[in-house]
Every structure is written in structure tokens, then in C-alpha cells.
Amino acid sequence: MRKEIRLSGYGGQGLILAGIILAEAAMRDGYEVVQSQSYGPEARGGASRAEVIISDEPIDYPKVTSPDVLLLMSDQACKRFAGSACEGGTVIVDSGLVTSVPETPGIVHEFPITDMAVEATGRSISANVVALGVLNTVAGLVSPESLKKAVSARVPRGTGEINLAALGAGIAASEAAGVG
Amino acid sequence: MAVPVDNYLRNQFMPHMWCPGCGHGIVLGAVLRAIGRLDLPKDEVCIVSGIGCASRAPGYLDFNTVHTTHGRALAFATGIKLARPDLHVIVLTGDGDASAIGGNHLIHAARRNMGITTVMFNNSIYGMTNGQYSPMTPKGRYASTAPYGNVERNFDMCELVKAAGGNYVARATTAHARQLSNYVEHAIQTQGFAFVEAVTQCPTYFGRRNKMGTPVDMIEWFRKNSVNAAAAAKLGPEELDGKIVVGEFYRGDAPEYTQVYEEVIKRAKEAAAR
């Protein structure tokens, strides 16, 4: 098993942290894992991206080429990465931010992620963790317990509660949507 | 005839790569307006920079432009100016570029009184590399390499350049964009080395780390915490602590290097003829 996950949006959405949390959850589940992210000009202004590879054997090639799971949290991210999803892969879109989803080989699931975050925690900044909840529920990557532990371990001090709420909101919404 | 700013931009590369609200664009605008008022022919202007966010400026400007190595802009510019004294050589540089790795070239260009205008975009941080402290980061401020607060004092770059021998020295902030532009104009008109420190906001790293709010908040902070030179002269060190002194600090009239070197050429040719 090798799962490639790409989280993309714009700088400031916290997607790199989301990638780290997901990777750490996978590690807690005993998987091999590699997490990486975009640097360079695209990290400033343009599309930002975090990538995670989860595998049950050592990961040789650490780059994501055609993600099994793709999170798209901006129009620019869509433009750049929608086509990169693997055939039949899971594509999660923040429907509140993305105005139109370009063609993609994956199967699109739309959630108003940022709006959900505002609703659940009052802060749009926790959209990254909401997204994690959604994404993991839809794609079934790691155990919910590990994900929770990883969230607690990695979010900034004092934001644990809020972020667990965000995670819960994401999980609940996707379960409710019947895609979990 | 004044030339509008747009005329100096390589529009095809806009919007530029600077973050939303980054003060570098305001400083660059001030520089371009000064060039426009002086109506310098584009072909006679050479812009030189080092490496950093500020140093990306030349790529957007329709002059002879060089984006060199980190800290070395003034050394490259010295070669350009000496080989072509008729060019207007303007160095656009960051605080790290100019005061850290490039500090030596700065004081030597000032000492030699090379006919170069230097505008230092001082955002008190290494922006390009994501927010480490620079020699211009005030003591106590936070940065990615100063997690416990910066223990180093910053240079007073205007004092330093003056002590090194520069012929023109001034400072303004993005909250003083008009003066800033005037200072750059005076700097370009200076025969000899001219230095303008432009205090500017990096909302992305300096601002965020130090909880300074939005770009607008940062500009407001500059405005509130600035004192002009005349007023500053009447204040004691405690009252000036944490303040930004703005103004034109020095105008000298030492002869410019390449002009003095013309004398050497004359003497050498005479000697050779003998």
C-alpha cells in the first residue's frame, strides 16, 4: 500500500501543518510516512502545497506524482493541481472558496470547509483541521484516534480544544454526507 | 519633463512577487518617482541589487539591471560606475544584503565616495529566507533565529555611512513616502556616494512575529514612532529609544571617485608621454 496525499491552497491556510498532522497520525498507526511541502516562490502568494505519502513498506521515492487524495482549497490550487489526481482518486474541494472545479480524473467531493470551520470554531484558521477531518473520513487513511492525538500534539499551545472541535466538525460533516 | 512611473516597469512581469502589503513596493515607487522627476534616460540608468526580497526589484524595472550575489551589489556597482562613469548607478538592497553580508562593501563605497545611490530597504528582517533577525533588527524583537528576543543592537546605518565618508545620508519610512522620494531624488543628484535608508514593513515575517498587525497598522506604527531630525536633536537617548529618526542627516562635498580617477588618467598619460 502506498497512498499519496496532496493538500493545496494558498499560503496562510495552514496546510503544511495539516500535512504534518496527517503524517504524524500515520506514523502513530505504524506506517512508513514521508511529508514534504512546497518552498519557493509558489509558497508566497501562489499555490501552496503539502504532500504526504503513507505506506506499509519503506518509501523510496519521496515525491508525490499522482495523488490518491487531493485537497483543493483555492482556485489557484484547482488550476494547478486538479488534473494531478490519480484516476478515481479522492478530490476534496472547499466549495466556499473554489468558484469552479476544473476537470479531474478523481472523484470530487465538495464541502464548504472554511465556512464549516467558522461555524464550528468561529475561526477560519482552523479550516485546515476541518479539512483533515473530512479528508480522512472520506479517504480512510489513518485511525481517528491517531489523528486526534496528532492534532493535539502538533497544533499551537492553547488551541487544542478549538482544533479538536474543528476535526470533529470535519468528521461529522463527511459522515453525514455519507462519504465516510 | 517628468516621466510616469509605469514607464519604468517591465509590465509583463507584474504583479510583482512581493507579499500583499509588503512595503518594498512603496519604496520602489518612491525611487521610480524620483527617477521620473529627474527624467533620467532609461539607457543611462543602471540598477544593481544583491539577493533578497528587496533585491528582486531590478527584474521589474526597464533599465540596465543586474541582480547579483548576496551582499555584493555595491562591489559590482563599483565596477560598473568606474568603467562607465556617465551611468546613473543605483543600488537597491535589503537591510541584510547591505548591512550584514554586504556591510564592508557599503562602508568602502562610502569611503571611496563612489558616485552610487544606494537605497536600503530596511524591513528589519531577512524576508527572503523567512524571517531571521538582521543587523537592523532592533534589540528585543523576535525573529525565527531570535526565539528569545534579539540580543543584538541594530546599526544606526545613517551614522555608519556618514562616518565611513558618504556624501549624502537620509532616512524615511513608508509612512513618509513623499519625503522618501524626495530624498532619493537628492541622493541621485549627489556627486559621490549617497545613501537613503527606507524603513519598510515586512508584514509576513517581521510583522507577524512581532504581532504588529496589518500592513496598515505597521505603517501607522512607523508614522507614530518617527521623529524628524530637528526634533530628535532636542531629545535625550531615553526619549529616542525605540523611535525612528527621519530626515536628511548629512550632505558633504568630497569629490566623487571616478572624477578623481580621471585626474589619475590624465597624470598617467602625461607620465607615459614623457
Binding site: 502513530r28 511529508q35 514534504s36 518552498y39 521515492y61 519521496p62 | 539577493i51 533565529t145
Partner: protein
Amino acid sequence: MPGRKGRDLRLLQGNECCAEAAILAGCTFFAGYPITPSTEIAEILSEKLPQVGGHFIQMEDEIASIAAVIGASLTGAKSMTATSGPGFSLKQENIGFASFTEIPCVIVNVQRTGPSTGLPTAPAQADLMQARWGTHGDHPIVALYPSTVPEVFDLTVKAFNISERLRVPVILLMDEVVGHMREKVEIPHVSDIEIINRPRPDVPPEKYLPYAAGPDGVPPMAPFGTGYRWHVTGLYHDETGFPTTAAPNADRQMKRLYAKIESAAEEITFTSEESLDDAEIVVVACGITARSARRGVRLARERGIKAGMLQLKTIWPFPYGIIGDIAGRVEKIIVAEMNMGQLIGEVERAACGKCEVVGYSRVDGEPIAPAEIVAKIEEV
């Protein structure tokens, strides 16, 4: 944060791991100047070193950084700096000084695509030869090259140990990709980490000859300020440490410096291999490329090709012997690297015509993928 089974399992970025390993290896001093993609090492150490009573300083440039590192090492502190291409170029003069005066220190170069400013956030493996030859004059040097985050841990510790043991600057070459990616690392308990300290004099100060070496070629080193007052100079010097222009001394000094590395070559040469035994085609690679090479070789085996791979974790001293042996028993060696062909020169030299050596290079800022390796194996 202990993981399952009580092990200290951590998800660490390569750069972060390097910083953690440095502290566990005994590093108490870091001087540096920020540069992508190495900066995280400095950032983390600016936070962690003072926590263990060590010192972090951001210097005015890279030249000053390596100078401060050497200075600190003179007082006995295990010292390190980290940089990338442009900064590595600037450090070269003082790396030569450290090599020649035999002051231990570790220099990390997280490589990016050069030359010049290049592509600051893209990976390349094009400072391999510079690591050996970047400074003027003959000089000994050691360079290690991890390909995974756990290897970063291991080789960072080894870098300090070798540096101390042989009194030589050790360069840790890293790929941008490795520096910036997070992987699972098991951090050993501090008591399980082998730590080597520089040899100290066992004679009283009056008897101390700072450059008189034992049979291993390594002279004992007294920290400054401990009663041994000695002299350090980048001029040729004799056993006393004081300068001399005598030709026989110069010869002796230079040859000892080379011999001390040579005689330790075996203990400091680290490689890793895959299916080498019966291989007919062997891929030689290091760093991130070695990972793809490993996968590529497995895929080739699946297709029935007798492929193997050799990962070089020690680049300098170059393992000519090991590669010469392999060249003698295989048909082809493929050297895969992210540059215009650097390692291949050394491999060709080592192979000495005993087998065909072909290169596979990529120089566009993208890592070489396993499929490319397979294709190359199939092609040759």
C-alpha cells in the same frame, strides 16, 4: 513523545533531525548565516542550544560563521555551521584553515540547484566535487551524505565523531529534498549513542607538542584556556605548531594529513547496498537519488534484470576500492546523479576500464524518479 513500544519515534524534518542529532552528538556551538534550504537547522538550534547551555550566534556572513565555529572549537566546544551552495563557496577559505590546522568542526551543506543563486528551493547534487576541492591547496576532508531522515541522524552523529576523532572538518552533504522532508525517526537514548571526543594531551603543558601525532596521525588537542598555551597558524608548521618554511617539514606535514584520513578510511567509509551479490548492472548513487535507485533496482529485478545498487554514504574519502571491486565483477555501472556528471568521474577512475560506466543525470531541479532508473537499466 515516545511512540509505540516505548521507542522515541518522531516525525522529523531532515534539517530538524540534523539539529537534534547535533545536540545529542555533543554540539554546543553553532554559528551560521541563513540560507535556503538549510535555515531550519539554524532556527532550531537558536532555540535549542541555549536550552542546553550552548551558544548560537548568527554571524554577519558565512565567512564569519565558519570562523566563529573554528574559534569556538579551539576552546573545546563541538561546533557546527550549516549553509547551502553560495554560503558553502564563501566558507571554503576557512574550511582549508580548519583542515590544515586540524580543528574539528562540522559543516552542513544542504544543496540546492546551482550555480550562483540558481534555483534556491530546488534540489541538486552538484556540490559533490566542491566538497572535495573547494578550497585552494591540498587538504584532507571527509564528506558524508544521507538519503533519509534516519540517516541524517546517524550521519550527523558520525560527522561529529569523525571530526573529533580525526581532527578534520567533516562536511555533511544533504539534498534539499531530504533537508525539507519529514520522516519517521527513532531517536536512540542518549546513552545508546556512541560519542567520540577529540584526543586530549596526556602530558603536562610543558611537554605538550600540539602537532606531534601518534601512530594514527592525529595529534592530541588541548582546549584553549586549560593551561596548554599553544599556537595555531595556517602557515606550514612543525610539531610545535610554530611556522617553518623548511621543505622537509612541509612534505612531512602534508603527507601526515593525508595519511591520517587514509589510515582511517575503512572505519569512516559507509555504504549501503541492494542485491549486489549477483548483479550484472549496478547503479551507484547517493542521497535522494539512492532511494530511487533502490526502488529502480527492485523494479528491474521484478522484470528479471540482474540489477544491484550501491549507495555511497561516505563520498570523501571516495571508496575507490569498493567500486573497483564491483567494476571487476559486473558488466555495467550506472552512475545516477542530479548534476552534469560529477560522481561519475570518480567512479570511472575507480572502475579503471574494468567495466562500462554510464551516467544518468538530471539537472532541472527535479529528483530522479525510480522509473527513470529502470528505463536506464533497461536501456544499457
